[in-house]
Amino acid sequence: MIYIKYFAKYRELMQMASEELLSNCNTLAALKLVLRETYPQAGTMLDDPRCITAINQQIVKSDSTPICPGDEVAFYPPVSGG
């Protein structure tokens, strides 16, 4: 199981805050492909060059980053707190 979280405008776009994905994808690229195939609107988020991805709460840059069962993958826009 992979635990996916969406925040702020991506939470609204995906119409959910989180989901659990039963998947055997083993890289971030493979996960993104699954999301694109599952949700027509996912491209809007994944094609956004400012979309930030964090795996187990660490920001990752490369689509070849491995994903293992039990991992938490988050997608979020640039932060605006403070």
């Binding site: 979280k5 925040f7 702020a8 405008k9 939470r11 964090a54 709460q57 988050a74 979020y76 826009p77 640039p78 932060v79 605006s80 707190g81 403070g82």
Partner: protein
């Protein structure tokens, strides 16, 4: 160091008293940020603050640890509110205690600049015409970037 993320307000006098008690304190600097009445899309009805539980706390703790490595600090506290706030409400407090004021001033700015650009919080402005996500500002990115070249 203390990091608190919560819906409830904070009391600046209480926070100041706590910071003052740190070891050999001679200077306390407190920054507080509040909701402006005028947002980017007009008069605000409310502001909604969302965060990434867990990652927010650890990312702020990392920022505070870096501040402690750069300056000799007696204590440092961050309180960031979440949920629905209205104009005039407190949003964030950064408090720093040090023996002398240069470290306290610098560390407070450093923590605030990094908080703006690294900690996973998002703001949404609610106006009578609709609601709008607040975009990250270029000047905040630039403010944080200066710490990378000017330690």
């Amino acid at each position: 160091m203390t990091v608190v993320i919560r819906p409830e307000d904070f009391d600046i006098a209480t926070e100041h008293a706590e910071l003052s008690r740190a070891n050999n304190t001679g200077a306390v600097v407190i920054f507080s940020g509040q909701v402006r009445p005028q947002g980017e899309h007009g008069e605000l009805v409310a502001m909604e603050l969302e965060h990434y539980p867990g990652m927010t706390e650890t990312s702020i703790a990392a920022i505070l640890k870096e501040a402690e490595q750069r300056w000799p600090l007696g204590a440092v506290r961050v309180i960031h509110r979440i949920g629905r706030l209205v104009p005039g409400d407190n949003i964030v407090l950064v408090g720093v205690a040090a023996t002398h004021r240069p470290a306290a001033f610098a560390a407070c700015e450093f923590v605030m600049d990094y908080l703006k650009t690294r900690a996973p919080f998002w703001k949404k402005e609610i106006t009578k015409d609709g609601s709008f996500w607040v975009e990250q500002k270029q000047k905040d990115t630039e403010a944080a970037a200066r710490w990378q070249t000017d330690p």
